[in-house]
Symmetry: C2
DNA sequence: CGCCAGATTGAGTAAAGTCAAATCCAGTGG
DNA sequence: CCACTGGATTTGACTTTACTCAATCTGGCG
């Protein structure tokens, strides 16, 4: 199912994953880094109580796979057909340099996520989530290959609430939803002001 | 009061801040790192809507001050009397090495925070918060010099709810609260299972 | 064309927010 | 040392929000 494509240069090869496949699993040895080429990846883990938690979504040019331990504490799953470039654990200093360059933006990104999720209302969270995606995509038309359940787990709300809030946004003319996995943001300023 | 960190650079001096003082402000130039020696530091910022958001708490041996931009996007405030060691922007490679060692744990820490805040109920969030602190402190007696308002902002709930949940925990014998800024965890396993 | 998982909608319930009042505490000054 | 005082915290009553559970709808796929 996984294909390896050679790129023109000496860069790392691209692996292609289909919807739902795991790039790595919770407990797998860590060390490699992964860069999304196309599609979407989500980090997920299961709590002791059996609940699914989603730790983040990654889109093209995002880098994931960081761990401070020797094991991954999340699984990484492809949402929709997804291309990944793998960077094996670094040995030469040039590669180390590259890794460090990627790390600080990841930290900033995580901080943004934290603030989205700590917002008071479901409306504010979903609005902030959509605004964040528009900014990262530089495009009003969002492709969301993941399930509503994953968005809900990520935002810390129920999937039914995601549905209802999205409907409210539609009725208010803030977004349009041409199909399940596409959302077009029609009024970004209004979305940004929701709290 | 003077401790030696395992770093090749000359020992940095300790600055002492009193309750509520700012170590740096939102918008200040970034670059230096800060290590908490005693007390507690919190990161805070104000949204466009005027709401206060708390990005994290830092206790002894925690390092903060990371930015991927040239400006701080949070303010850092002392909660209670707090000692800080400042590490100026690195120039020698040894110091760079030290900085990178600190960075990955910060990322992991942030990920834990994200999962605490994305929990469904206020009880689960406060319980996870307390468990996290016990683990970091290696001590059942928690010192929480920050205001309830800051804990509430951090957890994404109202201060009244923090109070009420804490009372429920007290009544259930899970914690005792000898005074406002001290919480003793009496039944950690039970707290860990709340969700 | 029918099937099934995912998504949406609806109704009732539980949880958390808001606003207001009461209480507690730390810091101040007598 | 102790009373005073203003801000912080807690408690109470009520309202709003979001969750739960169940039913319905939709779209992709054999």
């Amino acid at each position: 199912m996984t294909q390896h494509l050679k790129t023109s240069s000496a860069e790392a090869p691209i692996s292609i994953y289909s919807n739902g496949m795991k790039i790595y699993r919770q407990g797998d040895p860590s060390g490699s880094l992964y860069s999304v080429q196309f599609g979407c990846v989500l980090l997920a883990r299961v709590t002791y109580g059996g609940n699914r938690q989603v730790g983040g979504f990654f889109f093209p040019n995002d880098v994931f796979g960081w761990e401070s331990e020797t094991e991954h504490c999340f699984s990484a799953e492809a949402a929709g057909t997804t291309g990944i470039r793998v960077f094996a654990p670094a040995r030469d200093p040039n590669s180390t340099e590259w890794r460090h360059k990627q790390l600080l933006p990841s930290l900033t990104r995580l901080r943004e996520q934290l603030l989205i999720v700590s917002l008071g209302t479901a409306d504010a969270r979903l609005a902030a989530f959509l605004c964040d995606l528009v900014e990262r995509n530089r495009n009003d038309l969002l492709v969301l290959p993941m399930h509503r359940l994953d968005i809900a787990a990520y935002l810390g709300i129920s999937p039914e609430t995601v549905s209802r809030v999205l409907r409210r946004f539609k009725d208010a003319g803030l977004v349009s939803v041409p199909s399940t996995h596409y959302i077009k943001v029609l009024n970004l300023p209004a979305l940004q002001q929701i709290q």
